[in-house]
Symmetry: C2
Amino acid sequence: LVEFNREDHAHTRYNPLKGEWVLVSPHRAKRPWCGQEEEPPEENIPEFEPKNPLCPGVVRPNGQVNPNYQSTFIFDNDFPALLEDVPSLPPSSDPLFQMESARGTCRVMCFHPKSNITLPLMTVPEIRQVIDKWIEELTELGKKYIWVQIFENKGAIMGCSNPHPHCQIWASSFVPNEPRIKEHYQLEYYKKFKRPLLMDYVAKELENKERIVTENADWVVVVPYWAVWPYETMLLPKMHVKRFTDVNSTQRDSLAAIIKVLTTKYDNLFKTSFPYSMGWHGAPTGARLHEDVSHWVFHGIYYPPLLRSATVKKFMVGYEMLAQSQRDLTQEQAAEKLRKLPDIHYKETKK
Amino acid sequence: LVEFNREDHAHTRYNPLKGEWVLVSPHRAKRPWCGQEEEPPEENIPEFEPKNPLCPGVVRPNGQVNPNYQSTFIFDNDFPALLEDVPSLPPSSDPLFQMESARGTCRVMCFHPKSNITLPLMTVPEIRQVIDKWIEELTELGKKYIWVQIFENKGAIMGCSNPHPHCQIWASSFVPNEPRIKEHYQLEYYKKFKRPLLMDYVAKELENKERIVTENADWVVVVPYWAVWPYETMLLPKMHVKRFTDVNSTQRDSLAAIIKVLTTKYDNLFKTSFPYSMGWHGAPTGARLHEDVSHWVFHGIYYPPLLRSATVKKFMVGYEMLAQSQRDLTQEQAAEKLRKLPDIHYKETKK
Ligand SMILES: O=P(O)(O)O[C@H]1O[C@H](CO)[C@@H](O)[C@H](O)[C@H]1O
Ligand SMILES: O=P(O)(O)O[C@H]1O[C@H](CO)[C@@H](O)[C@H](O)[C@H]1O
């Protein structure tokens, strides 16, 4: 009689934050890959490039001149998906044809004046400046908008059209799907157990340890039990923080430190500038700023596409799009691999 | 006073099949693209290649010899994500750590003996043979499994590692997320309105006409009101069919004809072999074969990634992964573009 073993047998795991399952097929990691390979990321990016609209001092296509910024720099996206002025729409009466007008603001935020620097290559104090700026933006935009999404698309493979280290901030008059669903499940759990779902989750992961990638006094990074992308991680607080704006000064320093460690490990995995999409989720803002949001726990999410090397990614297509996400290594295998990697960047070791 | 206009103003639309919203930002189509471009698909694929494991008569890596098939050919996937023998697992007690064992079968089905032929280049009777085979497989696998997912990954950009025309069939012991969610919303609607959601939807689209791409006596293709991918379409029956296995002989012929028209229009759009992931959804099978599934309507879904040309795709990253899907042209603009394209393939016109 063979006993079930999660490293050998296909299984599904539940994501309690989204009410979705993932199919884990660890035996499939052995299959050869002869499909499309990606270009490795550009290695020789110049520090400064006069035609790059994100560099200090350059003239952007719309004629505006960037300041000679020394740390971070924020400006309005020249091709925003959301604009402040959109006429209202009367409510739709047909349940099959529901449309609402959407208002918002899209900003771009540079992390550093040099184009050839990424978060793992920045110092902890430099990352702390980025964190402070994120919180400033959230405070300002959060007064007006119910949702402020900070996200970073890193790498050409993630559709990022500019190598200069930067993120985007899209504030909107609606709560988008992902946080809306996460809110639903966090609230259900809170009503039932009287504790925030993610605080219970953190406590159990800290005890179990096998999915921990790195931790410090205030934060822990895990490959979530229900991770979909091969090296997906979640950055969670050890204390109950509901919004980014609640993170205090000490915790900002420790957050900067853990971001440096995580992104360094990512780069070390395939000795490449590791592509990903990442972002922050916390309680809604705007009209909901003064509500009780005890069910919410602030956290960061990293979705990296790479599976086998700097050029072979996991394709989320076919079965994944039409049926269910599927992964080829267990979450514990991914966590162990990341955990064992050095905290020092491969480029900094060389020096 | 400016009035709301869906071609100029950002808005969100609701997908009643999935309970999700999409952000539509039509004004954003004007932005220039200077990001990653894809390789155009290989143009000179040989009809036969002795090393291609999908070709007739070749020896596959596992030593098996393919028959000299003349139309379709089916075999078990050599690297399946699902296997028949997986030991059971006791139910998980912790709501945050739910795991179930997953059983299933993965098959590969070739559409045609020639590697350089795709569905739009096949004749209607040849496509009809593919349809018959799909239904045969569904009948057989559906006896044992609750869900049988037929899907086609077309093009290297969709992670498809072999240009030979083929699809995959994954049967599983569980109902995957996508159909599970669609079932939930179809059932809710049916309870409330006593009619199948998608039959009401088809009726309204046939009346409204602006999202229709093509139609015949039995079938209609629309860019759904809530489409996420730039040229996403849905292939719907005009009569109430609950499962693929309910489609009769006349309807199979007309289905073959409309598949040829749709895939031809797709190829004509950017004069390229148009990549996509597509698949079929109908009522669950296995233990649910004899239940009342009147809320279900059988349909096909096409998710093509291209946005601007044969080499520029829409990146579903960052905001899309962390917040909400976003599109840069309206669903009506996409439908109009596809509708106006010829029904004759650009390669067949040339001849
Ligand atoms: O089995 P294939 O075609 O090599 O694999 C492809 O389709 C599968 C099912 O959609 C995906 O899980 C893989 O990521 C993709 O590369
Ligand atoms: O504005 P960017 O960085 O050019 O655009 C990128 O990120 C956006 C937000 O995630 C996506 O909608 C685009 O598809 C992607 O190319």
